[in-house]
C-alpha cells in the first residue's frame, strides 16, 4: 500500500533519514516508532508530501507519490499530533468539517459529517466554536476530519498523547474499529504500551535508519532470550530452587519471599511442566504468571535508549533492566 525505496532526506550535511525502505501493507495497523530526533516526523512529512525527499521514491497504491499528486492525497486521512489554531479557532465544528468536505469535493457532506460526529460522540457540540474544545475533543474532531474523504490509509501522529485514560480508550477503540472495517492505519507514537496493544506490525527507526520492521509477535520473540515465570506458593522449601535448576528447561531459579522466580527459554510454554513438577511435590501454585518481553524493552534494545530516561542520559545502554513487561496470567 505504501512503499519507500531508498528514501533519504538531508538538511545540509545532516542526514535526517537515510535510505529508508518501509512497506506498509493493506489492512494493517502499522506502528512507526523511534526516539526523538530519529527522523520519524521527517519521514511522515515526506510520506504526506509536505517535505520533498533528497532522494528515493515513495509509492502509494503502486503509484509514485509527490506533493503534486492531490488525487493520491485524497486517499490519505491525517491526524496531526497537535491541532493547529489559526483560522479554525473561531469556526464551529460543523463549519470546520464542511470546509474540509468541500475541499475533498464530498457531495451531501451533511450526512457523512453527522454519521462521523455521532461515531465519536461529538454530534451535540457540532455548533460549538472550536476554541472552546478540550484537547480530547479536538483530537476526535481531527479524526473525523481525516475520515471525511473515506481514506484508504489513516495517518495518526501521537494520537493519544495528552489524553486522559478514558480519551485514550476511546481513541484506541476507534482505531481498532476503523481497522476492523478494513482501513489501514499508520501510527506514530511514544506510548509503546499502547502501540503493543493495537499494532500488527511495527517499524523502529533510529538515527534516520530503519532498525526493524516486523510483525509484533516476530519482533518480540526475536528479542526474547529468556522468559520469566513467577509462581506464588504458600511456602517454599529450602531446596526447591536447586531441585528446579536440575530441570533441563530452567535457566535460573530464585525466590523472593513466597514467590519463585524462574528463568526459562522463550521457545515454548513451560508453565504446565512447572505446575506438574510442583504438584508432584505437593506444592500448590496459588498463582502462576509468565512475564514476556515488552515492546518497550525491545525498543530500548534496538535504539539503545531507555524510554523512561532522558534521551541523552548516560545511563542509556543496551543492558537496561527488563522489568516493565506485560504479565500474562495463567
Amino acid at each position: 500500500m505504501i512503499q519507500t525505496r531508498n528514501l533519504t532526506k538531508k538538511f545540509g550535511n545532516f542526514t535526517a533519514v537515510d535510505s529508508l525502505e518501509l512497506n506498509i501493507r493493506s489492512g494493517e495497523i502499522y506502528g512507526f516508532l523511534g526516539p526523538n530526533g530519529a527522523g520519524k516526523t521527517t519521514t511522515i512529512l515526506m510520506l504526506l508530501g509536505i517535505l520533498r525527499p533528497t532522494s528515493g521514491d515513495i509509492y502509494l497504491f503502486g503509484e509514485k507519490f509527490s506533493s503534486r499528486r492531490l488525487d493520491l492525497k485524497q486517499k490519505l486521512g491525517v491526524v496531526p499530533e497537535k491541532h493547529p489554531a489559526g483560522m479554525w479557532k473561531w469556526m464551529t465544528a460543523g463549519e470546520y468539517l464542511v470546509l474540509f468536505a468541500d475541499l475533498y469535493g464530498i457531495k451531501k457532506s451533511d450526512i457523512r459529517i453527522k454519521h462521523l460526529l455521532q461515531k465519536v460522540d461529538l454530534l451535540e457540540v457540532k455548533n460549538k466554536r472550536m476554541k472552546d474544545f478540550s484537547r480530547g475533543m479536538l483530537q476526535k474532531l481531527s479524526i473525523v476530519r481525516a475520515l471525511l474523504p473515506d481514506p484508504d490509509i489513516l495517518f495518526l501522529d501521537e494520537p493519544i498523547a495528552g489524553l486522559d485514560p478514558i480519551g485514550i480508550k476511546q481513541v484506541r477503540d476507534f482505531i481498532l474499529s476503523e481497522n476492523r472495517e478494513g482501513r489501514t492505519v499508520f501510527i506514530s507514537s511514544h506510548l509503546l504500551s499502547e502501540m503493543e496493544k493495537i499494532c500488527h506490525r511495527v517499524a523502529i527507526i533510529s538515527d534516520g535508519t530503519l532498525r526493524a520492521e516486523e510483525t509484533m509477535d516476530t519482533l518480540l520473540s526475536k528479542f526474547s532470550r529468556e522468559k520469566e515465570v513467577q509462581v506464588d506458593l504458600e511456602e517454599i522449601p529450602d531446596n526447591l530452587c536447586s531441585k528446579l535448576k536440575e530441570l533441563d528447561f530452567i535457566i535460573d531459579a530464585s525466590r523472593q519471599a513466597n514467590t519463585l522466580v524462574l528463568k526459562i527459554p522463550p521457545d515454548r510454554d513451560y508453565r504446565k511442566d512447572i505446575s506438574r513438577f510442583l504438584i508432584q511435590r505437593e506444592l500448590i501454585p496459588l498463582r502462576l504468571y509468565e512475564k514476556s518481553i515488552s515492546l518497550e524493552e525491545v525498543f530500548t534494545m534496538i535504539t539503545g535508549q531507555d524510554t523512561e530516561k532522558p534521551i541523552d542520559s548516560p545511563e542509556n545502554n543496551i543492558e537496561t533492566s527488563i522489568d516493565s513487561g506485560e504479565k500474562n496470567e495463567l
Partner: protein
C-alpha cells in the same frame, strides 16, 4: 487540476466569509469613504469666486505643499488637472488597500506559523492554492470597493455639479492594478518570512522603500544624494509599481492610450512574476515556518 481549482474556490469562499464578518473590513471601508467625503468637501471649500484657492482650506493647503515638495509641482498639477477626484480617489483607496494587504500578510504568516497551512496540505490542497485564495479574496473586495468609490464620486459629482473627467476613470484602472501588485508583494513577503510579525515588517518595508524611492527622485535637492537615488532608482524602478503608476498617469493625461496600457501590462507582469516566485519559494521551502 480539478482538485486545485476546487481547493482555491473552497478556501476563497471561506476567506470572503471571514472578511464579511470581520469588523475591520467595515472600519477600513468607512474610513476610506469618510476620507473621500472630507477631502471632497474640503476641495469645495477651496473654491471661491476667483477659482481654485487651496489656501482657503488649511488641510488642503498643507497637503498640496507636502505633495509639491515630495513629488514636484507637475505631479500636483497632474493630480488636480480635472478637479479633486483623482487625488481623493487615491487617498480614499489607501485605508482599504492597507487593510486587505496587511490582513492577508498577517494571516498568511500566522497560519503558516501555527500549522494551519500544513493542515490544508494534508488534504487535496497546496501552498499555492492557499495564497491564491487570499489573492482572489483581496482582488474581489478591491473591485467591489472601486465600484463603490466610483458610484460615490459619481453621485458627488452630480450633486456638486463637478465633472468626472477621463483621468478619474484611468485612475480607477491604475489603482486597481496597483493594488493587485501590492497584494502580490504581500504574498511574497509572507512566503519568505517565518511568522506574522516578520511578514508584516517585510511587506511594510517594501512599500515604504518604494514610496521613499519615488519621493526621493523628486524631493531630494542635494546633488550627490539625488544622483545616488537616481542610480538606485534606475535599478529598482522596474520592479516598483509606483514607477508604472507615474507613467500610466502621465500617459493618461497626455492621451497616450498605448503607453497607458503598457504601464498596466507592466504592473500585471510584475504581479504575475511575484506570484510565480512565491509558488516556487513555497515549493522549495515548504509550508513549515
Amino acid at each position: 487540476m480539478n482538485y486545485k481549482l476546487n481547493a482555491i474556490k473552497t478556501i476563497s469562499k471561506r476567506r470572503i466569509f471571514e472578511t464579511v464578518i470581520s469588523p475591520g473590513f467595515y472600519v477600513a471601508t468607512a474610513a476610506g469613504l469618510f476620507l473621500g467625503y472630507y477631502l471632497l468637501s474640503g476641495f469645495l471649500d477651496s473654491v471661491d469666486s476667483g477659482g481654485l484657492n487651496f489656501s482657503l482650506h488649511p488641510v488642503y493647503n498643507q497637503i498640496v505643499e507636502i505633495l509639491s515638495g515630495a513629488f514636484g509641482i507637475t505631479f500636483v498639477e497632474k493630480l488636480f488637472s480635472e478637479g479633486p477626484f483623482v487625488f481623493v480617489l487615491f487617498v480614499s483607496f489607501i485605508p482599504v488597500f492597507l487593510y486587505h494587504a496587511i490582513n492577508t500578510v498577517f494571516k498568511f504568516g500566522f497560519e503558516k506559523n501555527v500549522g494551519a497551512l500544513e493542515l490544508l496540505m494534508y488534504g487535496p490542497s497546496d501552498g499555492t492554492c492557499f495564497f491564491l485564495s487570499f489573492f482572489i479574496k483581496d482582488v474581489l473586495f478591491t473591485v467591489i470597493y472601486i465600484f463603490t468609490l466610483a458610484l460615490f464620486f459619481y453621485l458627488s459629482s452630480v450633486i456638486n455639479n463637478l465633472v468626472l473627467g477621463p483621468m478619474f476613470y484611468f485612475s480607477l484602472l491604475i489603482i486597481f492594478f496597483l493594488a493587485v501588485s501590492g497584494y502580490s508583494y504581500g504574498i511574497l513577503a509572507s512566503v519568505l518570512s517565518g511568522n506574522a510579525a516578520t511578514s508584516v515588517a517585510l511587506f511594510s518595508g517594501i512599500v515604504v522603500f518604494f514610496v521613499i524611492l519615488q519621493i526621493g527622485s523628486f524631493a531630494i535637492t542635494g546633488d550627490y544624494v539625488k544622483n545616488l537615488t537616481n542610480v538606485i532608482m534606475w535599478f529598482i524602478k522596474w520592479i516598483s509599481p509606483f514607477f508604472y503608476m507615474d507613467i500610466g498617469l502621465s500617459a493618461a493625461l497626455y492621451g497616450n492610450f498605448f503607453l497607458f496600457l503598457l504601464s498596466i501590462l507592466s504592473i500585471l507582469i510584475i504581479s504575475a512574476v511575484l506570484l510565480l516566485i512565491s509558488h516556487f519559494v513555497l515549493k522549495v521551502k515548504g509550508v513549515r515556518p
